[in-house]
């Protein structure tokens, strides 16, 4: 690693999940109802990448697949320390499930050339699958560890990490490798105002499906390449607390009846 660490960080722009509304009629998230932001888990991946770069030298490349407006998340990545940013954007990428997304990302990483480490968030807050990271690693045929909550050591061509799958596992992985990271890994720093402003002027490389054609069949991207379809999404409604005031001599009896009916007490 005389040239320093080559790190790729996968970034996704997501709607602010605490604010977003659900369109019950079409069974989909109404993306216009909330501002977009960078998937919070990805910021921890980026922070880890920047810390490794600060320690060992190297280069951090942020890659995102999404519509044109996802550029703003890549600008954020540049402000927070990424050196390059690439946006995969094309109507042919649209409607991708996790495997079709992973194909596009893996193809982009192949096109990029050599790398030592790929970092991404453990999952995205909108999709919540946690599949894309490991799928990308499988497509690239590199080892991967999910839910990394600590990077213990980087030595030669190995990295030692703690994977938190409820129980913690100490894993030694040969590089190049892919890690998906948890929030516990680090506390992402705020970017400086100066870096945010200069990131606005930086170039973001745009790759379409054809740009990846040497590495993957463009028909296997987007909705055409997807093996799953979302038939319907159901969001459980929220029920308000109810209050009942019971009075009189038979109040206790009434209370028991209510508890029984609700299944909270045995008859």
């Amino acid at each position: 690693m005389g040239r320093g660490f080559r790190i790729v960080v996968l970034i996704k722009q997501v709607p602010d999940i605490e604010k977003v509304k659900f369109d019950f009629e079409v069974g989909r998230i109404d993306r216009s109802s909330a501002p977009a932001e960078t998937n919070p888990f990805d910021l921890h991946a980026l922070e880890a990448a920047v810390r490794l770069k600060e320690k060992f030298g190297g280069l951090v490349t942020a890659i995102s697949m999404g519509p044109k407006q996802a550029e703003s998340s890549l600008r954020e990545a540049l402000a927070r320390g990424a050196d390059h940013a690439i946006l995969l954007t094309d109507a042919r990428f649209a409607g991708a499930d996790t495997i079709a997304t992973s194909r596009a990302l893996a193809a982009a990483i192949k096109k990029l050339g050599e790398f030592d480490l790929i970092l991404c968030g453990e999952k995205t807050v909108d999709g919540d699958t946690g599949q894309v990271g490991p799928e990308v690693a499988e497509l690239l045929n590199v080892p991967h560890v999910a839910y990394v909550s600590e990077i213990r050591e980087v030595a030669g061509d190995k990295i030692v990490v703690v994977s938190d799958m409820g129980d913690k596992y100490l894993c030694e992985v040969k590089l190049p490798a892919l890690l998906t990271v948890t929030r516990e890994l680090n506390a992402p720093r705020l970017p400086t105002l100066r870096d945010v402003l200069s990131a606005r002027k930086k170039r973001i490389e745009i790759w379409d499906a054809d740009a990846l054609a040497d590495y993957e069949d463009p028909n296997r991207f987007g909705i055409n390449g997807s093996r799953t379809i979302v038939v319907k999404v159901v969001v459980p409604g929220t029920e308000k607390r109810k209050g009942i005031i019971l009075r009189g001599g038979d109040a206790v009896e009434k209370l028991f009846n209510i508890l029984e009916e609700g299944g909270f007490a045995r008859p």
């Binding site: 602010d16 605490e18 604010k19 501002p35 932001e37 960078t38 919070p40 954020e76 506390a187 720093r189 705020l190 970017p191 400086t192 105002l193 100066r194 945010v196 402003l197 606005r200 005031i245």
Partner: protein
């Protein structure tokens, strides 16, 4: 309290909405005033929870008949003991009156007094509108916010609560229900009684409903933290920001050590490690281009004023974390706090006030943590517990702060109000004639002195 009064109250609001008994009224006796300043609350009280202005009116008429004091109560987040029942009487809790309707066409919220600030913020947001001020605790009730004309952090750009209120429904101490103003942007019909009610701390009437101006949501916002080695440069940066034509929603000053300890106390991390003195700016602009243009200007100002590297938070989560830590400084200090002052001076005189406070800290050999809404010249100075100090020691120190503020053209309170604990200071520092007029107004509104007696006036 006499049983017949309690049963009359029950006949007004219904069986379930009158509460008596020491253990059950406990949560209604005090507010967020630092405990050493709190007056002792009477336990001989009934908590009454009306559902509408008519019931409030009946309760006040009854109170007049029996000469019974009534203490209106909102969220209990006040800091000057304004809602504490200092004598036997009725605690009028408006918590059941909590409906908010938003009129999107007129950009106006119609909010009942017992709705919380959190409810209002959410109701506005649900229809894509925005309520700009943020007076600290979101559990505060609308009635209380108006009664004490709350201020808070986001008052720089568009002002304190008073600036947003366009109408109130108020029940006078004598029982009449009055609507003053409405969904009106302009209203010049006679004396402005509405603004007399706002800020009267529950002494002139019980606010039961308000029409509150909302704003279109600014498209983009950002929170900037600017660190400085030196306090003087931090404070001198504030007028420089205004002179550049920038109008942030908020400009706050914090000491890094204090805000870091607060963050730690909350299990969070304060994002800016540089400098001992920091400004927090909240920017809200109509477009991304406008926001970044403002940011460019700030970078230039910072360079000129010799700040360290400013940081910026753009995501909602990161911005909320900063505001939360800033808002919780008070709760962090509270266990050892004797009093929190909200002294306010003309913004450009703030530096002088802070220097005087530093000097007083040395003179009295005590640490006086300060932070505050520096964009408004509003400084929170904290009197901390010191071993061996008596009440007189704190009184003397507080009085010196007040004297300095007045000398600088300021006021003893910019946002918390007088309540119970600042009555003597009001008497001392306000014009005699003004106080005489205030007392005369109180007599006209409340001839039997039943509504929040013992407050504002000594």
């Amino acid at each position: 309290m006499r049983e017949e009064i309690v049963s009359e109250l029950r006949s007004i609001v219904g069986e379930d909405w009158v509460i008596t008994g020491e253990d059950r009224i406990q949560g209604y006796l005090y507010d967020e005033t630092p405990p050493p300043m709190l007056p002792e609350a009477s336990k001989d009280v009934a908590v009454v929870k009306p559902r509408n202005a008519e019931e409030v009116s009946e309760i006040l008429k009854l109170a007049n008949r029996y000469g019974l004091p009534v203490f209106p109560r909102g969220g209990g987040t006040g800091l000057v003991g304004a809602c504490v029942p200092t004598m036997s009487g009725i605690i009028l809790s408006l918590e059941r009156m909590n409906i908010i309707k938003v009129d999107r066409e007129n950009l106006m919220a119609e909010a009942e007094a017992g709705a919380t600030l959190a409810d209002l913020l959410k109701a506005a947001e649900d229809v894509g509108l925005f309520f700009p001020p943020h007076p600290g605790d979101e559990g505060a009730h609308i009635g209380g916010l108006l009664a004490c004309n709350a201020g808070g952090a986001r008052a720089v750009k568009t002002g304190v609560i008073r600036n947003y209120v366009k109408g109130v429904e108020v029940v006078l101490p004598t029982g009449e229900i009055l609507t003053l103003g409405g969904k009106l942007v302009k209203n010049n019909a006679g004396y402005d009684l509405m603004h007399l009610i706002i800020g009267s701390e529950g002494t002139l009437g019980v606010i039961t409903k308000a029409w509150i101006r909302l704003y279109p949501r600014e498209a983009v916002n950002a929170t900037i933290v600017i660190p400085f080695e030196d306090r003087e440069m931090a404070l001198k940066t504030v007028p420089a920001i205004f002179q550049e034509g920038l109008m942030p929603l908020a400009i706050e000053y914090v000491e890094k050590s204090l805000v870091e300890k607060t963050a730690q106390h909350l299990g969070l991390t304060w994002p800016c490690r540089d400098g001992d003195h920091q400004l927090i700016l909240i920017l809200a602009e109509a477009s991304e281009a406008a926001l970044y243009e403002a940011c460019e200007k700030i970078v230039n100002i910072c360079e000129k004023m010799g700040s360290l590297e400013p940081l910026v938070a753009e995501s909602r989560g990161e911005q909320e974390r900063i505001l939360k830590i800033r808002s919780e400084i008070y709760s962090f200090l509270k266990p050892n706090l004797v009093d929190i002052l909200d002294t306010t001076v003309p913004p450009a005189q703030l530096l002088e006030l802070i220097k005087a406070v530093e000097e007083l800290g040395r003179k009295y050999n005590t640490y006086l943590p300060v932070f505050g809404h520096v964009g408004d010249g509003n400084l929170h100075i904290h009197l901390m517990r010191e071993d061996g100090w008596t009440k007189e020691d704190y009184d003397r120190l507080r009085d010196e702060v007040y004297r300095k503020a007045i000398e600088l053209g300021g006021t003893i309170t910019g946002e918390h109000g007088i309540g119970y604990i600042r009555r003597r200071s009001l008497e001392k520092y306000i014009d005699k004639k003004a106080l005489e007029l205030m007392r005369a107004i109180k007599r006209i509104f409340d001839p039997n002195n039943i509504l929040n007696p013992d407050k504002v006036f000594p």
